[in-house]
């Protein structure tokens, strides 16, 4: 890995967006920041601003109300970026499946890199998911054409 890729992998700033989940997975994400799991030791910071973020963590299903906001947040993040969906309802709709206002999983609206299933997903699973996403980020950062594509 070259220095740029290393820096990207070691400093993922996370933006957390809740499209209308039951809040179960949100609590688990916040648990990752507590001293027990302490994700800051991997350089992860929970930022509130899409313009500063590298990783978008989405909880909850895609619905008609939030699709526009979700797409907007995704587009405001500067490349390279990765998207992780936390929880079953974000992966496929989960318990909200077939509700009248549902579009389905998050991937109906924006491209998703990693799916972390579980209702609710455990903090360990979330950290695993972020590690997987960072591998994706590293691969993308190493292969120039893919990066150019991602930047385009």
């Amino acid at each position: 890995m070259n220095i740029i890729t290393t820096a990207r992998v070691k400093s993922p700033w996370i933006l957390h967006f809740d499209t209308g989940s039951c809040n179960g997975c949100d609590i688990e994400i916040l648990a990752c920041l507590t001293p027990l799991y302490d994700v800051e030791r991997f350089g992860m910071i929970n930022v509130g601003n899409p313009k500063h973020a590298d990783v978008l963590l989405v909880t909850g299903p895609a619905n008609r109300r939030n699709a526009r906001v979700l797409r907007n947040l995704y587009e405001q993040m500067p490349a390279p970026k990765v998207v992780i969906v936390i929880g079953t309802c974000g992966c496929s709709g989960g318990v909200f499946h077939n509700c009248y206002n549902m579009l389905g999983g998050i991937d109906k609206v924006i491209p998703v890199d990693v799916y972390v299933p579980g209702c609710a997903a455990k903090p360990e699973a979330i950290i695993d998911g972020v590690v997987l996403a960072l591998q994706r980020l590293a691969e993308r950062s190493e292969s120039k054409p893919a990066l150019a594509e991602a930047l385009a």
């Binding site: 740029i4 820096a7 001293p35 302490d38 800051e40 030791r41 350089g43 509130g48 500063h52 500067p78």
Partner: protein
């Protein structure tokens, strides 16, 4: 014509410009590690600020308008210039005004975009400057009263440390450092890492490379303020550095022990405990030197 003394001057300048951001970045890394340990966490490696910097530098470049970018360069340039002036042992007031120029530039950058977060953040940054500038100027006045000159060189020429005459003013730098570093309880304009006051206030509309440059300016500013604190014990300077690191540690401790204040409380605290006591310190010097107890 390059004489040896000019060559030395250039060498020192380059050294300051290269080493200062490295040292500043490391100090911020140590800060994050210490903060994590104080919260019973492991914390990131101490080189984390450099990872952040390189990552930000290589991100896609998005900006709201071009004037926003000029303000970033002025901000960084002013921080660098004021540090160089300090290394050259120039006029204390000029150093402070250059620093203020950089601060104002960042505020203008925040005002130049339409984001309400950025606007409120800039307003608050102005309030923060209103809070710490009097203390800085009073410190310069204190230097003048004791050494008879605003020049930093005069501080070095003096044998006994300034700390004995200006203990309160030296202590007031805890407040200055806290505000400059965006630490609790004064992190109201744009909080430091992992806090999200106003979605990071006046930095809201900056991303990627420009955020990295602002971060770098911050490293220079840290070293500048620590350098000014070191002047309170200029002979030998090592003791001064020790003193400044002590105050830095104190600021980190306070950051972890207290919550964020509102801007009214910030102004009250800085103007009474900071500037107010500094004025008393200056008055005491007048009285003591009138009585002939201290020279000056």
């Amino acid at each position: 014509m390059i004489t040896p003394s000019i060559a030395l001057e250039i060498l020192v300048t380059v050294f300051a410009l290269v080493v200062a951001p490295l040292a500043g970045g490391l100090l911020f890394g140590i800060d994050r590690k210490l903060t994590a340990r104080l919260q019973n966490r492991i914390g990131p490696p101490i080189v984390q600020p450099f990872y952040d910097f390189i990552k930000l530098w290589n991100k896609d470049q998005i900006f709201a308008n071009r004037s926003q970018l000029i303000y970033v360069y002025v901000h960084l340039g002013a921080a660098m210039a004021s540090l160089v002036l300090l290394v050259w042992q120039q006029d204390m007031l000029v150093i402070l005004f250059t620093l203020a120029l950089g601060g104002i530039s960042l505020v203008l950058g925040g005002f130049s975009v339409r984001s309400p977060y950025s606007q409120i953040g800039s307003q608050r940054e102005l309030l923060q400057m209103l809070a710490y500038e009097p203390m800085l100027v009073l410190a310069a006045v204190g230097f003048y009263l004791v050494t008879g000159s605003f020049l930093v060189a005069a501080v070095f020429a003096r044998g006994t440390p300034l700390l004995f005459e200006l203990p309160v003013i030296a202590l007031s730098f805890v407040l200055v450092l806290g505000i400059k570093l965006r630490k609790s309880p004064f992190d109201i304009a744009a909080a430091g890492h992992a806090h999200q006051e106003l979605v990071r206030g006046l930095l809201t509309e900056y991303s990627g490379r420009y955020l990295a440059l602002i971060e770098m300016a911050h490293w220079y500013e840290l070293l500048l303020v620590l350098g000014i604190i070191s002047l309170f014990w200029a002979n030998p300077l090592v003791v001064g550095f020790g003193l400044s690191l002590l105050l830095y540690f104190l600021v980190i401790l306070i950051d972890n022990a207290v919550a964020r204040l509102t801007w009214t409380s910030m102004l009250k605290i800085t103007w009474s405990w900071g500037a107010g006591l500094s004025v008393l310190n200056l008055a005491a010097i007048y009285v003591l030197s009138y009585l002939g107890w201290i020279g000056g």
